[in-house]
């Protein structure tokens, strides 16, 4: 428990930090305490004035926590988005294993997810296309050869 005022504490510390010869001794005599106490007060003041140490990384940003939030829904989303962008199943498998290690799904699982999401896309597009038709007054048409079949395009500029 502190028995000295803040003013005495700061004065004691100032005497130590001034580094002039005999200052700590003179100050101890004036304050009626030992030289050891004067030095202790200087350390306390110094600790108080130092900037706070950086907080340790929270558990939320640590790598294991990221892996923990990479649940199956997120993995599905990652796989479907990557395949929609044009990345192959094997590449998606490799990328997921970078994050998840051996816990990552294999390409057959990813292929099944993508197939399921693609089926959903077809149903959603059926609804959206009906809404688009009445808004389209200009169409750019093109065909592109992929081997067996010929996908062809209509795009509203």
């Amino acid at each position: 428990m502190d028995t000295l005022s803040i003013r005495s504490l700061v004065c004691n510390a100032a005497a130590v930090f001034s580094e002039s010869y005999g200052a700590a001794t003179r100050r101890a005599e004036e304050a009626g305490c030992s030289r050891q106490t004067v030095y202790e007060h200087a350390r306390r003041v110094e600790r108080r004035l130092q900037p706070p140490a950086p907080e340790p990384e929270s558990a939320a940003t640590a790598a294991p926590a990221v892996a923990a939030t990479f649940d199956e829904a997120t993995r599905r989303r990652f796989a479907a988005t990557a395949c929609a962008m044009g990345i192959s199943l094997r590449q998606v498998e490799d990328l997921l294993r970078v994050v998840l290690g051996d816990d990552g799904p294999d390409h057959s699982t990813i292929g099944r997810w993508v197939k399921e999401e693609s089926a959903r896309a077809a149903a959603v597009l059926e609804a959206l296309d009906a809404g688009c038709v009445e808004r389209i007054s200009t169409l750019a048409l093109d065909e592109i050869f992929f081997g067996g079949g010929r996908p062809w395009w209509g795009s509203s500029p």
Binding site: R77, A80, T81, C83, A84, M85, G86, I87, S88, Q91, V114, K115, E117, S118, A119, R120, A121, A122, A123, V124, L125, E126, A127, L128, D129, A130, G131, C132, V133, E134, R135, I136, S137, T138, L139, A140, L141, D142, E143, I144, F146, G149, R150, P151, W152, W153, G154, S155, S156, P157
Partner: protein, 341 residues
Amino acid sequence: MTAAFCVNAADHSAATWEKRLEPFDRLEFAVSDAAKGIAAAVSRTAAAHAATAPPLTHGLDLFHTTMEAHRVLARLWRKAETPWDRADELEAQAVDLRRRGIDSRGRNPAVAAARRRATAAFEDVERQEAAWRRIRAAFDLFGPDGRLNDRAWAEAEIAAALPELSGPEWRKVRDFLADRRGLNFLDRMHRRLEAAEPDPRRRDAMAWRWWGRHGRPDAPADPRIAPIRAVAWRRPLEGDERASYDRVAAVLRDTSRASSAVECMDSVLRMQQSRHRRMTQSMLDLKRLYWNCRPFRSGPRKAACPYQALGLPLPTFDFWELLRSDPDRLTQTLSAQANAL
């Protein structure tokens, strides 16, 4: 820029195309390359919709004309470099002989002749490139003076420049240019502008203002013109003038000459083609939904996705959320919005 449909079809016949175009009863303009199946389908659809829908016009995609012209020019430039390299080589040999103290005057005529051939080859390609640039300028919405381009002016410019592109390598470009559908976008633009602003003087003035604000006009030769232009182009408009300008600007913004949108999608599919053995219909659907929900990173539509740009009133434009949403509920939402309009 919305991918409206994408089908892995067994053929590309007119009947197949016609079936896909059938639902688009508000279609006014279709732009494509010179594919005969598409042309026939557009023609049949236009005839079928004639009684109930706005007239449908078919425009030739200028992207392919431009690409073909660039390909020819690149080949011509490569060809023109050969005599230039030969002239350099002969000249270097002559210089080397002189350096060694050997009389090289006998080689001078050969060097001069090679240089003449090289210069002639360069000038020939330059002439052809200038002719192509003149033709390319005829595809713009405005002439160099800021007046609205029209079919008469564009055809005159093309006819004036075409004799320079007489070589066999230009045959394909000449065929494209001879197709009247190439300038159909200009006819349509004028029709829509007349509907947007019936007063011809005001229409031209508003179009000129748009050209000044959105085109890249050259600095005027007479410096006194600059402040006049600044006032005409930057002065805030109010009331009728403002409304007239907005209508004219909407038409000019929405005038399409090339199917660059569909070429963007082609590049996405080719990326897929390089990594996958097959392209299934379900994969095409997934890609179409993803790219229709992906916001543009730059340009006038920055931060909006194609569905937003089209004005589709969706509860979300997020690809994943849309994929998880109930199709029946989406249909109801879109139907309710359509009825409210």
